[in-house]
């Protein structure tokens, strides 16, 4: 009896093969098997024969929308920066997308990074991706040699141990609190659709931090980001971070210092989070790829909460609608400018 993931993998291969074979798309962005337990490799497949490489499992933590603009460019005929756009329709690219990734494709479309006409979304309902870190923490100090995935459990084996653990207990925090597991865009459906999940408070972790005193919050912030090595994996794994020159890299003017000084590191994380406000879909890629295990996702999650409360918007949920923070409306909330203390004094 094949597992859910084995069935999905088979379906992905079949559909990808068909899309490439009949010329609908020139490339498919998916995942291939990783060389270590709990890893997969984002892979671009360009021929029907290569589709056998594609896999699907609970460790697909990187957001494939991140690759979309570049792969779209790679299937265009080569041209110089000043050459005109070639005439006629350009080749299409298929991409696997769960709920959050598909919302990122919506955001990319709203921000004119991606031409939706050229994207074939292979929609997969997410069952929640497993956090490799959570699994490793369960076996602290012991090396995990294989992880076998069953439908509802993981079987984790080492040289001298074997344990079966409930899968959901190891699912990433962002997936556990996610309410939109099903893709908002689907051109080719993989597996069964999923219904919206009920979650009375997706922002519980944020509320907990907000509930602390300012000293405690500062202590949390300084401690959380103190181990950052400035490798920028969080930024580079993020489909929202596509600036040709990131503010941290700018030399003229230099906004942020380059050392591991706590002020510079903190500034990088805060500014990056603010750049993602109103655009972040809480896909969790930043947190999943951090080699130092920093929970920088808490910052974007806090901003997601604010954007939802101020504008009633969740990024990427309404394809046709404008982005909340790049569009001006006269009835925009002003609470973020007028501080509460000021508002009370001035009776706003």
């Amino acid at each position: 009896m094949p597992t859910i993931n084995e069935k999905l993998t088979e379906e992905i291969r079949t559909q990808a093969k068909a899309l490439l074979a009949n010329g609908t798309v020139a490339a498919v962005i998916g995942y291939s098997r990783g060389s270590l337990p709990m890893t997969v490799k984002p892979t671009v497949v360009r021929t029907a024969e290569d589709c056998g490489k594609l896999v699907w499992n609970s460790f697909c933590v990187l957001n494939l929308a991140n690759y979309l603009p570049e792969v779209l460019k790679s299937v265009e005929p080569p041209r110089g920066p000043r050459d005109p756009k070639p005439e006629g329709p350009l080749a299409k690219v298929a991409v696997l997308a769960t709920g959050c990734w598909s919302r990122n494709i919506v955001v990319q479309t709203q921000e004119h990074q991606v031409d939706p006409e050229r994207v074939v979304v292979m929609g997969v309902a997410s069952r929640g991706m497993v956090s490799r870190r959570k699994v490793e923490e369960q076996f602290a100090g012991r090396e995990i040699l294989t992880v076998e995935e069953l439908d509802h459990d993981l079987v984790v084996k080492g040289a001298d141990f074997e344990e079966k653990i409930n899968r959901w207990s190891l699912v990433r925090d962002n997936c556990q609190t996610c309410t939109h597991p099903d893709p908002v865009l689907v051109d080719v459906r993989i597996g069964e659709p999923a219904s919206e999940r009920k979650n009375p408070n997706p922002f519980q972790q944020v509320d907990e931090i907000e509930g602390k005193s300012s000293e405690e919050r500062w202590a949390w912030f300084t401690s959380e980001f103190s181990t950052c090595i400035r490798c920028y994996a969080c930024r580079n794994a993020c489909p929202l971070c596509y600036c040709p020159t990131c503010f941290v890299d700018d030399a003229k003017p230099q906004w942020v210092g380059k050392s591991l000084d706590a002020v510079d590191t903190g500034l990088f994380h805060l500014l990056r989070a603010y750049h993602c406000a109103g655009r972040c879909t809480d896909c969790g890629a930043c947190e999943s790829v951090c080699p130092m295990g920093i929970n920088m996702r808490m910052l974007t999650k806090k901003l997601n909460k604010d954007v939802l409360n101020l504008y009633g918007v969740e990024a990427g949920m309404q394809p046709g609608s404008p982005l909340p923070l790049t569009t001006y409306a006269t009835n925009d909330p002003q609470k973020f400018i007028v501080t509460e203390a000021k508002a009370v004094k001035e009776g706003v």
Partner: protein, 345 residues
């Protein structure tokens, strides 16, 4: 060379003794809650008497942080107009006093030697090296991601260490390898190892995976341009997200950038880790970028480790610690890259 027998208590009190008047660092246990001000992420300063145990495999971050700190002050200066020395760059105050690194693995110790090839004339690296004493733990177990033996090292290797501590059949044996190591134990009364201990250690060393670089050394004689043009780079470059997780946690990546920092008229010129994965690394002021594409940058990192560095200095710039394999967000595995490159005719 002196060889001693150590109990866990003796080891702990020895390390604690060092920490009384010297800076002693060890790999942080588990997910570090907070980096200390004088210490790099992934390491903690030994204070108090907690027992010294080190998890299997290499530490989370590499030892290079102590030899090639992030950042290193190269010069200081003032920009205050009232000061006659305005704009005059001066040597920074020298950091003195020994630092003792405890619990590093043979792979990291070897990386210090390898980095010493490009840094052999570098005053800052040499100064750090001179004040660093390395007390390493050899490995009884190789992790699935370890491949030190293939890169010319060994899990029981002592190259680069001042004191090597091995566990052999439940006995802890310390080999004091250098004068700097001898200085550390000068005032201690330790139990000399029995001949049987020494024999057992030699036996273990003989049985463990040996440095066997014959297979990979074949790579060194491959034609540079053929490796450069190998088809493997395209797919790798497509997967790579060009972050610095591999380079920053790599013990043998040693590129640096230089920047000035000024706070209230007082300035310093620092060097700090850079990564050839970043587009800015090779960007000209004109806007031209010789490695403007992601694939070119991914290729450069591997070519540097496996071809350019050996062409220049002899050995590969890789000790097989496997950190990059562990930490790569997209599972780019240098062992697979080597495998694919060996297939290039």
């Amino acid at each position: 060379m002196k060889v001693f027998r150590l109990s866990q208590t003796e080891l702990d009190s020895m390390v604690q003794g060092w920490s009384q008047n010297r800076r002693v660092y060890r790999p942080a246990a588990g997910r570090q809650q907070s980096a200390q001000a004088d210490c790099a992420p992934g390491w903690e300063r030994v204070a108090g008497s907690s027992p010294l145990t080190v998890a299997t495999g290499p530490s989370k971050t590499s030892v290079k942080t102590f030899l090639f700190p992030q950042p290193e002050t190269m010069q200081t200066y003032t920009l205050k107009s009232s000061d006659p020395d305005k704009g005059l760059l001066k040597e920074p105050e020298k950091t003195t006093g020994k630092q003792i690194i405890v619990g590093l693995r043979p792979c990291d110790a070897r990386s210090v030697k390898l980095n010493n090839l490009p840094f052999r004339e570098d005053p800052f690296y040499q100064a750090s090296l001179a004040r660093t004493v390395m007390v390493g733990f050899t490995c009884n177990t190789m992790c699935a991601t370890c491949f030190c033996d293939q890169m010319g090292g060994s899990p029981m290797g002592t190259e680069g260490l001042d004191i090597a501590i091995s566990q052999v059949d439940g006995t802890m044996i310390a080999e004091v390898l250098t004068p700097a190591g001898e200085e550390l134990i000068a005032d201690l009364s330790l139990t000399p190892a029995e001949d049987s201990d020494i024999n057992a250690l030699a036996e273990r060393r003989k049985d463990c995976p040996q440095a066997d670089s014959a297979k990979l050394d074949a790579l060194k004689s491959r034609d540079l341009n053929k490796l450069y043009g190998a088809p493997v780079w395209q797919a790798l470059g497509e997967s790579c997200i060009n972050c610095g997780a591999c380079t920053f946690n790599c013990p043998t990546c040693y590129c640096f950038d230089v920047q000035d920092e000024v706070v209230r008229g007082q300035g310093r010129r620092i060097r700090y880790w850079d990564s050839c994965m970043f587009p800015l690394y090779s960007l000209h002021t004109t806007g031209h970028n010789p490695r403007g594409q992601k694939m070119q940058r991914t290729r450069n990192r591997f070519m540097h480790k496996l071809k350019y560095f050996p062409d220049r200095y002899g050995p590969f710039s890789c000790v097989g610690c496997g950190r990059c394999v562990q930490d790569c967000p997209v599972n780019i595995d240098i062992r697979e890259v080597i495998h694919d490159l060996l297939a290039v005719e």
